[in-house]
């Protein structure tokens, strides 16, 4: 069986292993498809919809769709980039994101995507929701104003018995990511840090620690999000 498949992104011929998700396959070919809810090594759940591409003419999420032979993918097209930019703006107006005061500024993927998509001001009216800051857990603060509901923490952070520490509650525009009050107490330093690192924005913060790395020297301060992939030297398999 031939495991290598040929497919194209914006007309450029690419090779990848069959069954790989489109985002990963694109990455191996030096093509950046913007993502937000996706995280390497964590089971994808197409939630943010930012990785939307057109696969054989249909809108699909690149983080959840496996590549197959002959797939034609549109990525860097106006229509698609417009949707992505709109989604970034939607996430900004949905919550309360005040970048200058945020511990994650410079390491924040939402902020970085906004820069990448040249978001000056969102086209949508702000909703200024009233959200709470949950500081009741010994190790972490859950800052609901900044949560983008990507489910990364829900999917990736489990206790030693495999139980979820984070989970959604409610539905629709009332959903929230909550922290288990019991398991939250037992959170190890290591897991707390992992949760903070996995959160794309500043919604999970480790307590008693802040601004370790000065603003200006952080991940996206110098190079736009995705540039690491685009500058990758691709070695064709």
């Amino acid at each position: 069986m031939n495991k290598i498949v040929k497919f194209s992104i914006d007309g450029v011929e690419c090779l990848a292993t069959r069954g790989q998700f489109v985002v990963d396959a694109a990455k191996e070919n030096g093509i950046y498809i913007p993502t937000l809810c996706n995280y390497p090594g964590v089971k994808p759940k197409g939630g943010c919809r930012i990785c939307t591409v057109k696969i054989n003419g249909k809108l699909m999420t690149a983080c959840t769709s496996p590549v197959s032979e002959g797939m034609q993918i549109e990525n860097n097209a106006n229509e698609i980039n417009e949707i992505r930019k709109a989604i970034v703006e939607l996430l900004f107006v949905e919550g309360n994101h005040f970048c200058p005061a945020c511990e994650k500024s410079g390491n924040c993927e939402l902020q970085a995507l906004a820069y990448r998509f040249h978001v000056m001001a969102p086209r949508f009216p702000f909703s200024f929701p009233i959200r709470k800051v949950d500081a009741s857990h010994p190790k972490i603060i859950k800052e609901q104003n900044r949560c983008v509901l990507c489910k990364r923490c829900i999917r990736a952070i489990k206790d030693y018995k495999g139980r979820s520490i984070f989970a959604y509650s409610k539905r629709g525009n009332r959903v929230e990511v909550g922290v288990d009050s019991k398991l939250g107490k037992e959170l190890t330093d290591e897991l707390a840090q992992k949760a903070m690192d996995i959160c794309p924005v500043g919604s999970i913060l480790v307590k008693e620690k802040g601004f370790y790395q000065p603003i200006g020297t952080r991940k996206y301060d110098k190079n736009p999000i995705g540039s690491d992939i685009e500058n990758l030297v691709v070695s064709k398999p």
Binding site: P44, K45, G46, G47, C48, R49, I50, T52, L59, T61, T64, S65, P66, I83, A86, I87, L90, L91, V93, E94, R123, F124, P125, S127, V148, L149, K151, D159, K161, G162, R163, S164, I165, F166, A167, Y168, S169, K170, R171, G172, N173, R174, V175, G178, V179, D180, S181, K182, L183
Partner: protein, 600 residues
């Protein structure tokens, strides 16, 4: 109480995939899901409490706080409003002395809103402790509230006689009416249960699939996927077990035909499930029934029990060695999105009803990750008729592209709302004649429920069928006097906001943004640009994961397309920009608190 909970959890073998049943039983027993129940479930099912709560809080009919001994859920669909819901709602509030979403101070009575409960032909309707009350009037509400205050059992509160047909039967005893107005092959009263089973045991599974394919029948749940092909995919998929789901979530506002089938011809979809099981090689079937139809539970269980006795279910069905099939009923708990097939599967596995990413499709990887067929109630009924009379016969009904008949659920401004079985290819014009609606008095018809389209009179010659107006069968007629934007578009948009599962950013945020724009226009603060913005912004929803999000802008988009003048009449012509911000409203609360009148 704790013991009762432990017993319930044990009844389902501490099986995490049966969390829905556990929660439904606890909710029924105690009236809500108390903290200690969450703790117990978490412990026994080896999950965290927050994980239990994420399922509980997803469903409308579960509650983590007490909701009263008497729980009143008044439907808030557009048609309910048209039929006088406002007065009914006001009477409930006045008589009970509480607002919607509240409990009486003694904690006895709770009053809540709920999305369409499948009674659009007999609105306003409410569910009180799982029993349905239809055609409510302020007078009736007063009687009901009086009875409640006297602590009468809810079953004794019916004043009218029971509904028609099986609604009056011993095991249902409901005031719901079937309102079957036109019958065809599906609603044929001469149906003899079991005949089709006798037929298939003489065929091979592949022959069954071939016959279904020959009929060209497509799914009646809305998406219109060819049924034979779906079964074939599932048959060819590998898995040590396979499952057949009958989708009776019927949540699209305006549809109620599945309820009527399940009341009058319940053996039909069950027989269809057995046929599907035989064809794809599945031995287990699940009827996923919306919680709103809980009043049918005993009746349906009894039908299943009888089928077992007759050997239409169970082992060696129809005398065929090794042909085994069982059916169980899985209730939902109030979530429209659970009608989406993969959300339905998630829900049946005891989780939040969030649709899955596809691929993989349920036919490859569905319930418990096994190949699964999900079919609508009506599809499974049609299948029985195809087996009985042949695919060729079936094709003699309808059009080339849309074969067979379709059950329509018709409601709104017409003389004879109810269920009609017609051949595909029926035009809107013919439909209006059939139901006693004057064309001159009809302003619009909503075809396919809120996720469908709002059609204007100039398009009434269009036909129902996959080639033109594809529909799950919800047709709502709006007369001249209706304010389409306020009564229909706003109501439908609210429906989508309420029912989104919330996991896609697009579906979670855009409908509210559209609603705010619409309200701005309705408040006479809109400008032309707002209409164009809505058209542009509606497109973003196309990037959503499931059909709910993908169609959530349809009320807005189809009304702008077909009734643009209604929007243009309302926007300010002399302005190109208006922020919509109302300073006096924004400072109202503060002004009142300080008794100061701002001078702007």
């Amino acid at each position: 109480m704790k013991n009762a909970i432990i017993k319930i959890i044990s009844k389902y073998n501490k099986d995490r995939t049966r969390l829905m049943d556990i929660l439904i039983d606890i909710q029924t027993e105690i009236g809500f899901i108390p903290d200690y129940a969450v703790t117990q479930i978490a412990e026994d099912l080896h999950m965290s409490e927050v994980d239990v709560e994420q399922t509980v809080s997803f469903y409308h009919f579960f509650s983590l706080i007490p909701t009263g001994k008497y729980k009143i859920y008044l439907n808030n669909s557009a048609v309910s409003n048209m039929m006088g819901r406002a007065e009914v709602a006001a009477t409930f509030e006045k008589e009970l002395g509480i607002k919607f979403g509240q409990l009486t101070p003694d904690g006895q009575i709770g009053l809540f809103e709920t999305s369409c409960i499948g009674m659009n032909d007999q609105e306003p309707a409410a569910i009180i402790n799982n029993l349905i009350f239809t055609k409510l009037t302020p007078f009736r509400v007063k009687e009901i509230v009086r009875d409640i205050k006297e602590e009468k059992p809810v079953v004794e509160m019916f004043s009218a006689s029971f509904g028609d047909g099986k609604n009056a039967s011993e095991l249902i005893r409901s005031v719901v009416s079937n309102n079957i107005r036109k019958i065809g092959p599906i609603l044929d009263p001469n149906y003899k249960p079991g005949e089709a089973i006798k037929q298939i045991v003489k065929m091979t599974p592949t022959q069954v699939i071939e016959e279904i394919k020959k009929s060209n029948i497509r799914g009646r749940g809305g998406a219109g996927f060819p049924t034979g092909l779906k079964w074939e995919f599932c048959r060819n998929a590998s898995g040590k077990q396979k499952y057949i789901f009958c989708n009776a979530d019927e949540g699209e506002p305006g549809t109620f035909k599945d309820r009527v089938i399940l009341t009058e011809f319940p053996r039909l979809p069950f027989e269809g499930m057995v046929i599907a099981g035989y064809a794809v090689g599945a031995t287990e079937g699940i009827l996923y029934l919306r919680y709103e139809y809980k009043y049918l539970e005993q009746y349906l269980e009894d039908i299943l029990e009888n089928a077992r006795k007759k050997n239409y279910l169970g082992k060696d069905i129809g005398g065929k060695k090794g042909f085994n099939f069982e059916i169980r009923i899985q209730f939902g708990a109030g979530a429209y999105v659970c009608g989406e097939e993969s959300a339905l599967i998630e829900s049946a596995e005891g989780k939040r009803g969030e649709p899955r990413d596809r691929p993989p499709f349920p036919v490859e990887k569905g319930y418990l990750d096994m190949p699964t067929v999900v079919n609508n109630v009506e599809t499974l009924c049609s299948v029985v008729k195809v087996i009985l009379h042949g695919g060729e016969w079936y094709k003699s009904f309808g059009t080339t592209e849309s074969t067979g008949t379709k059950l329509l659920s018709i409601s709104g401004d017409c003389r004879f709302p109810g269920v009609y079985e017609v051949e595909w290819g029926f035009s809107i014009n013919d439909m209006l004649d059939m139901v006693g609606a004057l064309k001159s008095e009809t302003q619009a018809v909503q075809v396919g429920g809120p996720s469908g389209a709002l059609i204007a009179p100039n398009e009434f010659n269009r036909i129902l069928g996959y080639e033109d107006l594809a529909t799950g069968g919800s047709l709502i007629i709006f007369g001249r006097s209706r304010e389409l934007l306020n009564d229909v578009v706003l109501n439908f948009t609210d429906f989508f906001i309420e029912e989104s599962c919330g996991s896609c950013s697009t579906c979670r945020i855009v409908p509210s943004v559209l609603k705010n724009k619409l309200k701005k226009i309705l408040n006479a603060r809109g400008v032309m640009q707002d209409i164009d913005d809505m058209v542009e912004w509606g497109k973003i929803l196309k990037a959503s994961r499931c059909g709910l999000g993908q169609t959530a802008a349809n009320p807005v988009l189809s009304s702008i397309k077909n009734f643009r003048h209604l929007y243009e009449e309302k926007v300010q012509k002399n302005k190109v920009f208006d922020s919509g911000f109302d300073l006096s409203m924004a400072v109202k609360e503060g002004s009142e608190a300080t008794s100061r009148i701002p001078n702007f």
